[in-house]
């Protein structure tokens, strides 16, 4: 063994045993020094720590997970990674998880419950200590697995009042209603709703939109445009063309998200349609760019960063103690800008 670092393990990595042998103590003491330092005398602990550094010991996650039946990892399933909304949510989640020693396993479901089911199947094999899911709509099998596996779950983005579950989010219905009421309050009457990437949340925003228009007595069934393709600025631009052709009399449009709103605005600029003069535009989510376009876009700011943080917090409480299920409504705010 002329190796700079002594390695007893079959796989060539430095093990707890190596550290223990090096110090003439037992492996379990080294394990304790790392996991529960207060249970090892201070002097020995110091020696252990320096040996750990010297030998370059790094805990083997698989072995730890197998022996202790916990993995210090949390599964996070989001519908998209190209949507700023979920990236921000992930940041909030990380901010809480990382300092507590947890690791996030990120899965992208591409807005598909089937894909979500598939991912959950794979990731459950990793024995996550907790699970963070987006939204409330899941396949029966997913619900079954979640019920069976006994791992705490927190649902993000929406609030569910019916079930005995934990969730952190906001009322998508209310948000859709508030911004539509705002448009009504500004005097607009022929208000369209444009949605892409149909998901449960855009459906709920649409319900809020309809409710607001009905209460104002100006609801018309034909004023909605739905496309199933993923949302994007380019799609917003082409949907503006479609809107102007199909509903030339419309005076305002509520886009289900800011991407579409930005695309619509850019296309209005191109076609010399005055915003908000000829057409008022509202978005949803308050993405970073929406404050800087010309005019800046009126939208609903959603607290996605806080949602991530609070959801992670709630999940850790559920993992640690026996915090009972709770709902946390973080609300939203109307951001009045110049596009409406």
């Amino acid at each position: 063994m002329s190796d700079r670092k002594s390695r007893s393990s079959a796989t060539g990595q430095v093990t707890l045993q190596d550290v223990a042998l090096h110090l003439g103590i037992s492996a379990i003491t080294v394990s304790r020094a790392l996991k529960t330092p207060q249970r090892v005398s201070e002097t020995l602990r110091a020696r252990i720590m320096s040996a750990v550094t010297e030998l370059g010991y790094r805990p083997n996650h698989a072995a730890r997970s197998l022996a202790s039946a916990r993995s210090d990892s949390v599964l996070v399933l989001v519908p998209s990674l190209s949507n700023e909304v979920f990236v921000d949510t992930l940041s909030g989640i990380h901010e809480v998880l990382i300092p507590r020693g947890y690791q996030a396993l990120i899965g992208n479901t591409h807005y598909s419950p089937q894909e979500e089911e598939k991912q959950l199947g794979v990731f459950l094999g990793h024995n996550p200590d907790g699970i963070l899911l987006t939204g409330l709509d899941h396949t029966p099998r997913v619900r079954q697995w979640l019920a069976d596996c006994g791992v705490p779950v927190v649902y993000m983005m929406e609030i569910d009042d019916a079930r005995d579950s934990r969730c952190v989010g906001l009322s998508q219905f209310d948000a859709g209603q508030v911004i539509t009421r705002y448009l009504v309050g500004k005097g607009y009457r022929r208000i369209a709703y444009v949605a892409a990437q149909v998901d449960p949340r855009t459906l709920k925003r649409a319900e809020g939109y309809r409710a607001a228009l009905r209460e104002a007595g100006c609801y018309e069934a034909g004023r909605e445009i739905w496309v199933p393709t993923p949302s994007s600025i380019g799609l917003g631009a082409s949907l503006l063309d479609r809107l102007l052709k199909e509903q030339p009399d419309c005076d305002a449009v509520f886009c289900c998200n800011d991407d579409l709103a930005q695309g619509m605005l850019f296309q209005c600029q191109r076609r010399k349609v005055a915003v908000p003069g000829q057409l008022a535009i509202c978005g949803f989510n308050d993405l970073a760019a929406s404050a800087w376009t010309n005019p800046p876009i009126t939208t609903i700011a959603t607290p996605r960063y806080a949602i991530g943080r609070e959801a992670a917090q709630m999940l850790l409480s559920a993992i640690d103690g026996d915090m009972p299920p709770a709902k946390l409504d973080l609300g939203f705010s109307l951001v009045e800008r110049l596009s409406a």
Copy 2:
């Protein structure tokens, strides 16, 4: 045991042993039926598969990883998740990894080599079968760990001709040079370079910019603005103000990325600065929005999706066989639009 599903395991989960017992065969055969189906007779395989489904068996990843010394997971470290560039790269990576049964462990280094070192330390404990890193600049300890651990690594985004390593990317220098030459070719002479979130790649683009200006005989040292804060559209807007104040005579600006370029463009619109009439603007990366602004933004399109795909491909080859180290230059392309 009146449990609907029989569970022998101490942890309550359905194990290979459960499936084996259920069929009156040995665990290893079940293991084989799942990992190397061709080594189990067709009839038995079918029985095993249906028992697996019936009992709801799900492989335990930790146990598999511990026993086989492989984890079927690949570590991916990117500097940011809020940057479209790396999200696209991740998509490319996933597209290759997932069908091959690998799982990506994603770490966000926030553009910090120290954070990268910390993350690598944690993730190495997960025994990744391969590692994908962004860029070529890493701390000495990271380089040491990578050399020691024997896990194949592929570097993404840049091309390194010196070392005996695998990398997939493009020449950031050349790209910076090409777009600057383009501006020079268009007749611009007082060209500024604006960079935020200083990283090795923006530095190399700057070198390309300088080389192009020197060869055209119009290089001036004071025409660069560097800020260390993260790049954003809002920052681009405020840097436009700074540029106009500090270099009122400048006739074109090359932004180190499209976010800044978009912010600058929006601020130009606000301040009624004609683009490209009074000021030409170029970006870098060709983000989705850049094609839709008014005017659309001239930029360098980077093949980040392909980079992710090819890097993952190269990594898997390295894991499987003994593919020798190779460099893959995927190039870039100048996207001429109306902002310059």
